[in-house]
């Protein structure tokens, strides 16, 4: 990982790239317009669960790739948590070597079709793009191009399986099959380890499956990427909770030399306000799990779900957007976001907020629920909200919301989804007595190697961060894989 800069510099002088750079003047390149992602019509898509973004065409992708200047110091790459060689894959697209582009991405990213869809590029690669920084123009659509390359490869039927080292027979366990676990497993397999991923749920993918809805990330796409990892030799074991089904000690006895814990932030937070346990009030995790993982809206499936006419979703993050847009698709007449700060402070991706607005989602910003009321059966029927104003910035750098006394009023709701964040899942940590934890219940790790206080246990993703993005979790997984590799090599040397 420390050699990302070198890895990226390496390929630039190659003849095909030098030639490509010469083929069009920089001025011409910068005068091109940024590609626009084709989308389903808002009034159609808010009634189906098909993907909102339809993907760019070959022509559009090639045109967009022409905009990229193939900078000598590609700042975009600094913004990528998994260290993708961004200019190289974009130039491959420009030269219409789409499979080559996909292979380039897969050198460092185990889940390109996923990242091309859900990464907050506007805060990462695209934010540090030369266009954004120096030209003050819309950045190269790196995310759209990543998605294009991955989709092209998948649809071509010529999926490239990354090279893996000669199997070394050393067993490594990955705990949790979410983004960090999959990224770690991918790299560990490349190093030649015998990797088994243990997953508590009945499906592989973690938050990619239970959390992110079909209209943003189709499950089929996740499955294809998982299938590729299987082809790389990664083994998967569902319905297995490390720390419960078997202990770490049991697995050590079975020969596992190291562990990567990516068990996620699966413990929803509630606000602890009166009435929050009435029926019809869900955590976003429950609502999305029922809908995405259990397919509760499909009559053929046994898992039940409540539907609401007036649905309030509490929170301003991506999960809140996913929940409210799901409720709208389920037929809610009013689907609203209730958020205690203003639009500017919302942690959700701009694209998601924008999509939600287009789909008819109402935003009640600077409002916060203080109490819920229910009918005689205990089903929520009213929500009392309080108006808020913004004060001085808090520790997160965002302006602190301050309640306005006496501003409370009631809104009719028959369903509420609480999406105010998650805490680390306690199952794995509580099974390890000597594991060093923070006061917030996250695992303490070395920032470079991701090694925990127990030498053979490494960790990353939300169990370390407490609640972040898919791509940051994947970056952690890669770092940890490198850390595990180093740890095992040293152990082997020491004999």
């Amino acid at each position: 990982m420390e050699n990302i800069a070198e890895y990226i510099k390496e390929g630039r002088p190659e003849a095909w790239r030098a030639e490509l750079r010469k083929s069009m003047k920089a001025k011409e390149r910068t005068s091109l317009e940024r590609v626009k992602m084709p989308e389903q019509d808002p009034n159609v898509r808010n009634k189906n669960i098909i993907e909102v973004n339809l993907g760019v065409s070959e022509q559009m992708a090639v045109a967009e790739a022409h905009r990229c200047l193939d900078c000598p110091e590609p700042t975009c790459t600094i913004g990528c948590p998994v260290g993708i060689d961004i200019p190289k894959f974009i130039k491959k697209i420009e030269s219409k070597d789409f499979l080559g582009a996909a292979a380039t991405i897969k050198e460092t990213n185990a889940l390109p079709a996923v990242c091309g869809r859900v990464c907050p590029q506007e805060k990462q690669c695209e934010l540090s793009c030369f266009y954004t920084q120096k030209l003050k123009k819309p950045p190269i659509a790196i995310g759209h191009l990543e998605r294009f390359a991955a989709d092209y490869e998948r649809n071509s039927g010529k999926m490239n399986i990354p090279d893996v080292a000669e199997p070394n027979g050393i067993k490594v366990a990955v705990v949790g099959s979410g983004p960090s676990g999959l990224a770690a497993a991918g790299d560990l397999a490349k190093f030649g380890y015998d990797v088994t991923v243990f997953e508590a749920l009945h499906e592989i993918g973690g938050v990619l499956k239970y959390g992110i809805p079909e209209f943003r990330l189709p499950n089929d796409i996740v499955d294809v990427e998982i299938e590729n990892m299987r082809k790389m030799g990664v083994k998967f074991r569902t319905d297995f909770i490390v720390g419960k089904t078997a202990s770490f000690e049991d697995l050590r006895t079975q020969g596992y030399q190291a562990f990567f814990v990516g068990s996620g932030a699966g413990l929803p937070r509630f606000m602890n306000i009166p009435g929050e346990n009435y029926n019809g009030i869900f955590s976003s995790n429950e609502y999305l799990t029922r809908m995405n993982l259990m397919k509760a809206a499909n009559d053929d499936y046994d898992t039940p779900i409540l539907s609401g006419k007036n649905v309030a979703v509490i929170g301003g993050g991506n999960t809140a957007m996913d929940s409210v847009r799901t409720a709208k698709r389920m037929g809610a007449e009013r689907a609203m976001i209730v958020y205690r700060r203003s639009r500017e402070e919302m942690p959700a991706r701009l694209e998601e907020v924008h999509h939600a607005l287009e789909e008819g989602i109402e935003f009640m910003n600077l409002h916060n629920p203080v109490e819920y009321f229910a009918d005689e059966n205990g089903r929520v029927n009213k929500m009392r909200v309080q108006k808020m104003r913004l004060g001085e910035p808090d520790a997160s750098g965002r302006r602190r919301p301050i309640p306005i006394e006496g501003s409370e009023f009631d809104i009719d709701v028959d369903m509420v989804v609480v999406a105010v964040g998650v805490s680390p899942n306690p199952i794995v940590p509580s099974s390890l007595k000597n594991l060093k934890m923070t006061d917030w219940g996250t695992i303490v790790v070395d920032k470079e190697t991701m090694q925990s206080s127990i030498p053979d246990i490494f960790a990353g993703g939300d169990i370390v961060r407490g609640g972040a993005t898919v791509i940051l979790a994947m970056g952690d997984g890669r770092k940890a894989a490198a850390g595990i590799h180093k740890y095992i090599q040293e152990k082997v040397k020491a004999g």
Partner: protein, 278 residues
């Protein structure tokens, strides 16, 4: 895939199911539960483990037909498979030598009580078990309970077996003649509520095992949340056993009815499909 090795009906709607789950059989303790999913389209439901055999690699569940999933499960035969079984989940029962312990089990609640009775007996307690059910055929696992109890009191609502009366009458009878140091009450929510009101009268520390609605069973969704001493707790990771006197029973029962309409409709639909097939 987990193969069913044995299926024994206690009555028309209650059966004991033994199934292959070698890892769980090895790691389970009294109080633990599993989440099962029958097939691709199935829901995830929690079931407390009634017994386990680490040698054979099997666990035992006792299931009562209450809806679609339990009906489908009871329609299975030995040799058939259950797609997903995950566990053991929840905290194991806190077992110590309390002295004399009263274990009151109502209906299929006797099944999760059995491993607790065994563990209490092994820890040196004097165990008095009260088994209750509406009628004789709903008294289950009597022989197994007898094997590990110092005394067994049987109560039926209709008097068809044991003494006539509710579980609470049986409990009171024992409490009045013996010094009870600790009680466990497991059964339907309403039975646990009144059972623990009984022990409360005599200040007997009481634990109950809650069987709320769950999805993942690992703390992720919060469907199982209950108020314990005014604080929201998750039955799956904080329980399933709690101090009975801290449980907000009315809220718990209300939450257990969250999908009543859907469950009822689904069951009607299921009955129709099996009629058509038949």
């Amino acid at each position: 895939m987990n193969k069913i090795t044995e299926m024994e009906f206690f009555s028309e709607n209650v059966a004991k199911i033994v199934l292959e789950a070698p890892d769980i059989a090895r790691s389970r303790k009294a109080g633990h539960f599993v989440i099962i999913r029958l097939d691709e389209k199935g829901e995830r439901i929690p079931l407390t483990i009634a017994d386990g055999d680490p040698e054979k690699g099997t666990i035992t569940l006792v299931v009562q037909k209450v809806g679609v999933t339990s009906a489908k499960l009871l329609a299975k035969k030995a040799g058939e498979e259950i797609l997903d079984v995950v566990g053991p989940l929840g905290h194991a029962t806190h077992i110590e030598n309390f002295g004399t312990v009263l274990c009151a089990g109502g209906g299929v609640g006797v099944a999760p009580m059995l491993p607790i009775i065994k563990a209490l007996k092994e820890a040196g307690n004097k165990v008095i078990s009260v088994l209750a059910g509406r009628s004789k055929e709903l008294i289950i696992l009597e022989d197994e309970v007898r094997k590990h109890s110092d005394e067994v009191v049987i109560m039926t609502d209709d008097g068809s077996y044991g003494k006539k009366g509710l579980v609470t009458a049986g409990m009171e009878e024992v409490i009045q003649r013996e010094k009870i140091n600790k009680a466990f009450v497991i059964g339907p929510a309403i039975m646990m509520k009144f059972g623990s009101l009984t022990t409360k009268k005599y200040n007997i520390p009481t634990d109950v095992s809650l069987n709320t609605i769950m999805v993942d069973g690992t703390g992720m969704c919060g469907a199982c949340r209950v108020s314990i001493g005014g604080k929201t707790k998750f039955v799956c990771v904080d329980g399933p056993e709690f101090d009975a006197f801290q449980v907000n029973w009315d809220e718990m029962m209300m939450r257990m009815g969250a999908y009543k309409t859907q469950e009822h409709e689904a069951y009607e639909k299921y009955l129709k499909t099996i009629e058509t097939v038949a």
